[in-house]
């Protein structure tokens, strides 16, 4: 599938193998492009969806464009409810929780994989168990906990929950990468007289920047789209996030699907942009990470 040398069209030698390879390439590209089309469709669909009214959403084929696009869905979304406020909240909560999770998870993973102490696999096990509880089992206990701490209706409850529930996944992902880090780097650093902290911040974090970008993307998506905790722990409109904006259009008996589409469209744009930026970091990661002791 992957061939070491560049495709053969710029080479003058045409032999059987090259032709075969060429056909293989074409087929592979066709396949790849086909999958890419399939993957981009949901976004196109969502855009079209957001320009329809209920009648058109249920009447027309999913990908047919309405004769009179309902741009007013966007106006409706923008003017109804505190979408700007929700937006700011979403950005803040997502960013803070993400930064804390990635940092804390790196600390833990580092201590567990690189440092020597008794009980580290037990501690790792403790974190892994955190993956296993269904979210609905946690709502009633967590609510009463936050109530006792006077943290209900406070963004802190949300941030703490996000960090705690994302820590296990993040640690797990980091784990695979930390195990593969060469030991020599650390040895060299320690001989140079580095402290653990310095080594962690100066060497390990940069070396793992590609996986950090990966976990950051994953955390961002989770936090950005989460709504069960927000709904349960937050009651003031001023602390709610964009996912709640969707509910603004679900009525007792009627649901304004077009407006929901517009809300989803608006809410996907920021993470799309950040995703595109962060996703380049994954590649750059190797360059920055190839620090040799």
């Amino acid at each position: 599938m992957k061939v070491a040398t560049a495709p053969g069209y710029n080479s003058g030698r045409v032999n059987e193998r090259k032709i075969l390879q060429g056909t293989g390439y074409t087929l592979m590209y066709l396949g790849l492009i086909l999958v890419a089309l399939v993957q981009i469709f949901p976004l196109v669909w969502l855009l079209i969806f957001s320009l329809k009214n209920n009648q058109e959403i249920f009447n027309m084929a999913p990908f047919s464009i309405p004769a009179h696009p309902h741009w007013e869905n966007y106006v409706n979304v923008w003017t109804n409810g505190n979408i700007a406020q929700y937006f700011v909240n979403s950005v803040l909560i997502t960013a803070i929780a993400l930064a804390l999770t990635v940092l804390l998870a790196s600390f833990v993973t580092y201590a567990v994989t690189r440092m020597r102490w008794k009980g580290r696999s037990f501690v790792l096990g403790l974190f892994m168990v955190g993956l296993m509880i269904p979210v609905h089992s946690t709502l009633i206990p967590l609510f009463s906990l936050f109530l006792k701490l006077h943290l209900t209706d406070s963004p802190i409850s949300i941030i703490l929950s996000y960090v705690a529930f994302n820590l296990p996944t993040t640690i797990m992902i980091l784990l695979g990468f930390y195990y593969a880090l060469p030991k020599e780097v650390e040895e060299a650093a320690i001989i140079d007289g580095c402290s653990v902290n310095t080594m962690f911040f100066r060497i390990i974090l940069p070396m793992t920047s590609s996986v950090l970008a990966t976990t950051a993307i994953i955390n961002m998506i989770y936090n950005w789209n989460e709504f069960i905790f927000v709904n349960t722990f937050i009651s003031s409109d001023k602390y709610k996030t964009l996912t709640v904006g969707v509910q603004n259009f679900i009525g007792q008996y009627t649901t304004d699907w077009g407006a929901i589409g517009a809300t989803l469209m608006i809410s996907i744009l920021p993470i799309l942009i950040v995703f595109l930026l962060l996703s380049d970091r994954i590649v750059e990661g190797i360059a920055a990470g190839s620090v040799k002791g």
């Binding site: 409810g81 940092l103 008996y253």
Partner: protein, 450 residues
């Protein structure tokens, strides 16, 4: 080296402190409000009274076009203007999230001062748990005395006390597409035999006779309830649900058999068990299906909703669920009942103010809801005073001569039995259980609940 370490540590601490400080602000305000509210059991509004905040949780978001939401906000605004010391703090959630949150809040006894509840079986655990305050005093208070349609508040009464006041009253007719019926020379049926003829004709002509989205399951329950009512009679069904009768009753089993027959006749649109009510309804709105059994809350879609083409609205008529030959049912017996109602939390620190607000809300809602929101209230409506679409007038007239209104089974039953009922409905429609199994499972569930 060590300097670096300190700097990093400090930086981290600083970030954390900023986060905590930045987020802590709002919480204190709330605490102050609640404390203020708790200290002042005010009864009437005078200008120099202390500020009171009433927390209200409901499910009418401002974003949905239905005028219902405007009405809610109008009422709240008006109340706040009339009572400058009162602030109504709203929290809006959609149906599912609302029910979940109510449950979580209940576990910690932290219900909002005022909230929405459904009748009978739904509210029973909350009442038995002592979470809702009895509000008979405002039911019989100056604004609401004798205003309710007979029988509506009873659905919210448990052991002789009323724990919520209804703001909706619905009955469920079968809406039908007059143009489709005309095309195939069909008349609105009055007997079940005629009805089956209609189903047969439409089905043979490639039209889905009945629009149904049975993923939500209560939608299919309406069909079973009507058949049970028409075949076995109103009392048999009521008693079976209450536990004094039994689902073994041959009439009730026959009703389940009739559902199977309708399914076999291709009476419902394709894939109904995998479609939501919204999707099922769309079959009717798209004119791909001829009939749709649903509550009167759908009326705005057939009359006033500007998003629906007038051409379609003109085609919509309704008929009463037909009587079954030799059945014990009456054509004026309806499935429906009061929908949501307002409760006041027993634990509320501003209980008196909350009650006063609920009293005002229910009476004001009763005056305006039909005309502005198209919602039929549980309080009496004077049809002569207001200009209403014909469909409303006709159905309000039907409502006034209804011989009985049987409350939706899933609301009537206690939560666990209601879930069994709903699951069994979907299984019955999917032909995964026989009518006899259907009856047995119901019997077990009802007995377990009592």
């Amino acid at each position: 080296m060590s300097k670096n370490k300190v700097t990093q540590g400090l930086l981290l601490t600083l970030v954390l402190m900023l986060v905590l400080a930045g987020c802590g602000g709002g919480k204190n305000n709330n605490a102050t409000n609640a404390a203020n509210g708790g200290n002042t059991p005010a009864t009437d509004a005078t200008a120099n009274e202390q500020k009171v905040t009433i927390n209200m949780m409901h499910l009418w978001p401002a974003g949905v076009s239905a005028q219902q939401n405007k009405l809610v906000n109008q009422i709240i605004d008006q109340y706040q203007t009339d009572h400058p010391n009162v602030t109504i703090k709203e929290e809006v959630l959609d149906n599912e999230q609302y029910k979940n949150k109510l449950k979580v809040l209940s576990a910690s006894n932290e219900l909002p001062d005022v909230g929405i509840t459904w009748a009978a079986g739904f509210m029973e655990p909350y009442v038995k748990g002592g979470l809702f305050a009895p509000i008979d005093d405002i039911k019989d208070g100056t604004l609401l005395k004798d205003k309710f349609v007979a029988g509506t508040t009873e659905a919210y009464a448990i052991d002789g006390k009323t724990y919520a006041l209804p703001i909706e009253l619905n009955i469920s007719p079968i809406y039908y597409n007059k143009a489709i019926f005309e095309k195939y020379n069909l008349q609105a049926p009055t007997t079940y035999t005629e009805f089956k003829e209609v189903v047969k004709t439409l089905s043979e002509n490639g039209i889905a006779p009945i629009a149904l989205g049975n993923k939500d399951r209560w939608t299919g329950s309406l069909w079973y309830m009507y058949l049970a009512d028409r075949i076995a009679g109103n009392d048999t069904l009521k008693n079976a649900i209450a536990g004094s009768g039994s689902f073994d009753d041959p009439g009730l089993v026959q009703a389940a058999t009739e559902i199977e027959t309708l399914v076999d006749m291709n009476g419902f649109n394709k894939g109904f068990n995998g479609l939501s009510n919204d999707e099922g309804k769309a079959e009717f709105m798209n004119e791909k299906a001829g009939m749709y059994l649903m509550g009167t809350w759908e009326l705005p879609n057939f009359t006033t909703n500007p998003d629906i083409p007038q051409e379609f609205k003109d085609k919509v008529g309704f008929f009463k669920f037909p009587t079954v030959e030799n059945g014990k049912g009456n054509i004026d017996s309806w499935v429906g009942g009061p929908g949501v109602g307002l409760f006041v939390a027993e634990s509320s620190k501003v209980k008196e103010e909350a009650k006063a607000f609920v009293e005002y809300f229910v009476s004001k809602w009763g005056e305006d809801s039909v005309t502005t929101a198209g919602v039929i209230p549980a309080t009496k409506v004077d049809t002569t005073k207001t200009e209403l679409p014909q469909l409303y007038v006709d159905l309000l007239n039907e409502l006034s001569k209804a011989s009985s209104i049987t409350l939706f089974a899933d609301v009537q039953m206690k939560p666990s039995a209601a879930q069994v009922h709903l699951d069994m409905i979907q299984a019955l429609f999917g032909k995964a259980v026989t009518p006899e199994q259907f009856a047995t499972k119901h019997k077990e569930a009802i007995e377990k609940g009592n």
